[in-house]
Symmetry: C2
Subunit: 421 residues, 2 copies
């Protein structure tokens, strides 16, 4: 089969005004990458039929599959479906099932349906209708010889499930089965990871290995395409084992969305609870833990002790200790972790104290953070020195310190020694 | 002067793999919108010279100003500067000042400079060099008759200040002066705002009024272009007054980045302090407040009481009250706000308790949240009922509840009555 190339067209004047970040383009690109479908161009045009038609023309000169999002709303300036239909010489016809679904959507939400919403049930003749359980506008797939157009709604919470549940299986069919796993690593940078893995990553073709890096967190996606799911899994297993082994000091989970989910999962599995005492992270560690549904079973108590008096009076860090070592010190961090563990009755306590900037304080430089963990087995303090200094550094310092705290909870829950990175 | 049209080309295979969200395109688009320069196309291509050249060709058929980002790194596949120079028939020459700046950048960071970084000082002959104080790759502006190319680095923390401090003044010159102000509103949706403002927004040409909405927060940017800054300010003043007056129940600040900054600012101005007791928001209110530099002067103490025992034992919510009304109740929220105010000695206390999902608990539906504020003047409880239920709803419920808490702190600090939206 000839390799088919994809192109993305996002439609929306709000994107060209800089009012909305184009996450749809990213999510569609990621899905195409997962499916192994090459993407060489991704474009944005406004809600303008002439320019959209020109974009479609250019796209089909370079690609066979064009995915469009946006411009499916009920108002007069939402013209994507009309324009695509016109481009392919198709008529728009009323799709009764979609109209019924739109009516039902409004009923369920207890809102009036405006007459203009009926327009969203007008779909190109001969198209494959993509029902939209999260909104009013259905999507549509049009096939025209070699050419395919996939029309998706603009709101990400409507687009994302339609892409994942309806479009990806459609595009993936005929290619056999594609399966992937995500391996997560904490405390290693992307370039260091690439250096350590070398050819294991670059030369991997099936399965492929692709890195996705965020500050403090690197994810490797391993993807195999094969005749059956079992075959794909068989191809991936040795590669995944090799990756986990080569990076065992950094590895923390497979197929979990993030570090906080791994922490909550590990605490649940071990029947343990954690508590937090935070200064410079200001509640971020607690906030990350409680992002995870089900966190209440393993996390009950957090304290934000942003001022010294609170550290002393409510948390119980001795005033002499604060005076002798300063609030930003290994001693204070350790005492915070121990104190919150005692006060809350949790199995594991963490303490975070540092200077997130913008100015040095107590003579402690911006970026210096102590993160402590206290469990029945040990109290340990890690020292971070985050030197990057620009307009985003406060947020970065807080984020890296919070991730360190999560990592220390995870290691303590696994009864593993803390790591020094 | 003929109106010049802009086009954006973002270069980077990582964008086409879906590894990175393209915030650069959004930020450049917003800046162009602010400058009043029309943008009709924004495209993404990979690190591929042939495709980049084709994209440049298409762009100059439709526009005069092309802004490029990405592909200025030190490695062999970073080819944007070479490709742009080649497109305009310019040679790359070593720019000594940039080389010195790159050397200095590495020295300051205490890191070794790789020989490949020297390549970043090779810039097109006759170009205007844009120094990069936040990284190694300088940017460049090339003028070629009517055509202008603006080449910017890819990392947002390098791109953003270069765009704002160097490129915007360059593009804005000759257009007179452009000034803008940002008015922030809490508790009103974008469509409701558009409805209330009607023609005041739609028909505004100079100054223009453009809305930017996030959940729980709408910003109106008022922009005037005039011969002098004073003249621009004179044009904006009556419009801004009208907007603030029409939406006075929702208005909270002008020219501040967000609600948390407005809260910290108001507390500082009034010499007041605040404390937080959070259940379902899990530390998010504290985290938002401490995002703001200088928060430590007005916020010292937060408690995350995620489990009932902690609410009872550490925060001091009476067990009978929890039993009688449940943890998710107006009574519990009020007691949490009062208790944290008493415990911490702060002037204003807030309490947040609710069900962020995913499952109903105590028979309380997902999305039901009580947010209480306690000051010397009053204790007030607001009830939120956030009905949207999809995969993002947990995060949304927590965010809207936290913003409500911030809004209640702000109203209390201003000695204004709480609002019911």
């Amino acid at each position: 089969m000839k390799e088919r190339i994809a192109e993305i067209i996002c439609v929306g004047t709000e994107l060209l005004m800089g009012e909305t970040v184009n996450t749809n383009a990213t999510e569609i690109a990621r899905e195409l990458s997962r499916l192994g479908i090459p993407l060489y161009h991704s474009v944005v045009v406004g809600d303008n039929p002439a320019r959209l038609k020109a974009a479609l023309k250019s796209a089909y000169e370079r690609a066979e599959i064009v995915l469009l999002t946006g411009g499916l709303g009920p108002t007069y300036d939402d013209l994507t479906m009309e324009t695509v239909a016109d481009f392919f010489g198709r008529k728009l016809v009323l799709h009764e099932e979609s109209l019924a679904a739109i009516r039902q959507y409004f009923e369920k939400a207890g809102r009036m349906m405006a007459p203009s919403n009926e327009k969203q049930a007008l779909l190109p003749e001969g198209g494959i209708v993509l029902p939209n359980p999260n909104g009013t506008a259905p999507g549509c797939i049009l096939e025209d010889g070699e050419r395919v157009a996939v029309v998706l709604p603009g709101p990400p919470r409507e687009m994302r499930p339609m892409l994942r549940d309806q479009v990806a299986p459609y595009l993936g069919r005929g290619n056999g089965v594609i399966r992937s796993h995500e391996l997560h690593f904490y405390g290693i940078g992307e370039s260091e990871l690439e250096y350590k893995l070398g050819d294991l990553m670059k030369n991997a073709l099936n399965p492929t290995v692709a890195p996705y890096a965020k500050p403090g967190d690197v994810m490797l996606r391993v993807t195999a395409s094969a005749g059956t799911a079992e075959e794909a899994e068989r191809q991936m297993a040795p590669v995944m084992n090799k990756l986990r082994d080569k990076l065992k000091d950094y590895y923390y989970a497979t197929d979990l969305p993030d570090l906080q989910t791994a922490v909550v999962r590990a605490l649940h599995e071990k029947g343990l609870t954690a508590a937090t005492a935070e200064s410079c992270t200001g509640g971020l560690v607690a906030e990350l833990l409680t992002e995870v549904p089900g966190a209440s079973g393993v996390f009950g108590c957090g304290m934000v002790a942003y001022q010294n008096e609170i550290k002393e009076q409510l948390l119980g860090v001795p005033g002499e200790l604060l005076k002798a070592y300063g609030a930003v010190s290994a001693e204070t961090a350790a005492r915070m972790a121990e104190a919150i563990r005692e006060k809350s009755g949790a199995d594991i306590g963490v303490g975070v104290t540092g200077n997130a900037g913008p100015a040095a304080s107590e003579g402690k430089p911006v970026g210096l953070v102590y993160v402590a963990v206290s469990s029945s087995a040990y109290t340990h303090v890690s020292r971070l020195n985050i030197r990057r200094q620009d307009e985003d550094s406060r947020a970065l310092i807080r984020r890296l310190a919070a991730l360190k705290a999560l990592n220390l909870i995870l290691r303590a829950a696994q009864a593993a020694p803390p790591t020094e990175h």
